[in-house]
Amino acid sequence: MRKVAIIGVGITPFLSRYLDKTYFELAYDATKLALNDCNKQGIEITHKDLESTVYGIYNELFERQFMPDIFINSYIGMNDKPGTRIASGGATGGYTVRMAYAEVASGLSDLCLCLGVEKCNDCYDEKTGATTPQVLNAIAYSADMTYEYPMGMMAASSYVSMVNAHFEEFGSPSEEQMALVSVKNHGNAINNPIAQSPMKITVEDVMNSRIICYPFKMLDCCLYSEASACLILASEQKVKELGVENPIWITGVGAANTDCFIGNRESIGRLYSNINAAKAAYKMAGLDYDNIKNQIDVAELHDAFSGQEVISYEELGFVPFGEGGKWIESGGPEIGGELPCCPSGGLIGCGHAVGATGIMSTGEAALQLRGDADKHQVTIEKGRALAHSIGGPGAAYAAIIIMENEEAKK
């Protein structure tokens, strides 16, 4: 396989609703931002140089459009070039990066656009004047239609069963430890201009917010957002040709889908998708599952719910099983801690624009390695970062991306 680098990043603000834009205009904006990011670094490319697109768009009901990618294709000037769409639940973004990587690594494309977009809040309940019931209605079809959907399975309830079971088995995370994730990620978002939910809050605020699905409270949950995020990926040959000074190489790509029926898993409290995706990504990047905390500088995790971030510390090998809760109490994942997790604010701070989210996380991690994360920049010493995406029924999908900046390592 050929080496692949991220050479451009474009992320639109994550908002509750763009009243003035269609989803294809949002996608155009992110593409333009990524091209501008290239141009700012002295990389002279335009949309005409892009050879192919991989689109991450989760849900037809959000966009009210089957095959939404083909309409974007026309708007962003990618007509008459190949375009493929990925839809893998909440992990759509991470999987889209994986497939865009594959497109360049395989030699199918030398310059590939990796573009995620979601505009969910046109789903609207006329009777109540609210978007939430219809957005959740649109998500609910992700559950198994033969049994789990008719029984009432929803996103929060599917995560809660895993978090509760994990606590039963390992004693982590407690409700207060989960609340610390919410405090950290809402707080980190204060320094991220694209974030939807920057907030200075306390553990008490989280504990006192209304219960959504025990033990998750309102402030333990991410909000759904509208946004677009975009990466430009280049082959090694293209990196040389364009004279890219600070390429962020993708050195590890791991993905795994575990059993979508939570009750079929060996242990309900473990996300095997996470564990297997992490091990695969680390192996490809030549890193060590048992020592990963000391080999990377920053991790952008998929914190759709606070408890899930704590479980991910353990499953991704940052700390042993059962110690995730204690690790956040000790400040390990804080900016300035042992391994900063979600300095961008993550999903809890930025919002969750499903297809765009994993691409935003990967883009944020790449900006960190480049030293371009402005006010939420963390210290880069090892020159490596991780981006994490999970989703689908019972978080069955997982994709993990490892990136390196060779300059920063020197």
Binding site: I76, Q134, N137
Partner: protein, 155 residues
Amino acid sequence: MLEEDQEIFITKGMVRADFDFWVGLVMDKFYDGLQEKKFIGTKCSKCGKVFLPPRNRCGDCFVKAEEFVDLPETGILKNFTVTTYKITERKIRKVKKDIMVGLVQVDGADTAMLVPIVNTNPDNLKEGMKVSVVWAKKLKGDPQDIAGFEPVGDG
């Protein structure tokens, strides 16, 4: 294997979500224009291409196309087809009168749009013929305001 007289379990219902789906700034303006019997297109700020129906980004130039232009009621029939079948009339299958649809490029526009062809019969249709809009009797600011296009003079 199913037994001949076996009862099977079926869940009924449909996959749906309710929407307040906005068509976007330029299509909104386009539909407002129809209600006033006007065609409003957009023009690319770089190559000058005129879009009808309008769109606010020119993909080829990768720039905004936000200048609105008023376009006339006449155009050229680029292409057409005739159908005798209507999906909403499944029972009778055949429609009473043949339906003609075509792609019409309104004068001054660089793109063609899908419209019904009316007040003529299929034998009279020719690619390249001149056509003119027929507005609906009641205008509501939606796609049905365009009742169709009809041939002008001898085409």
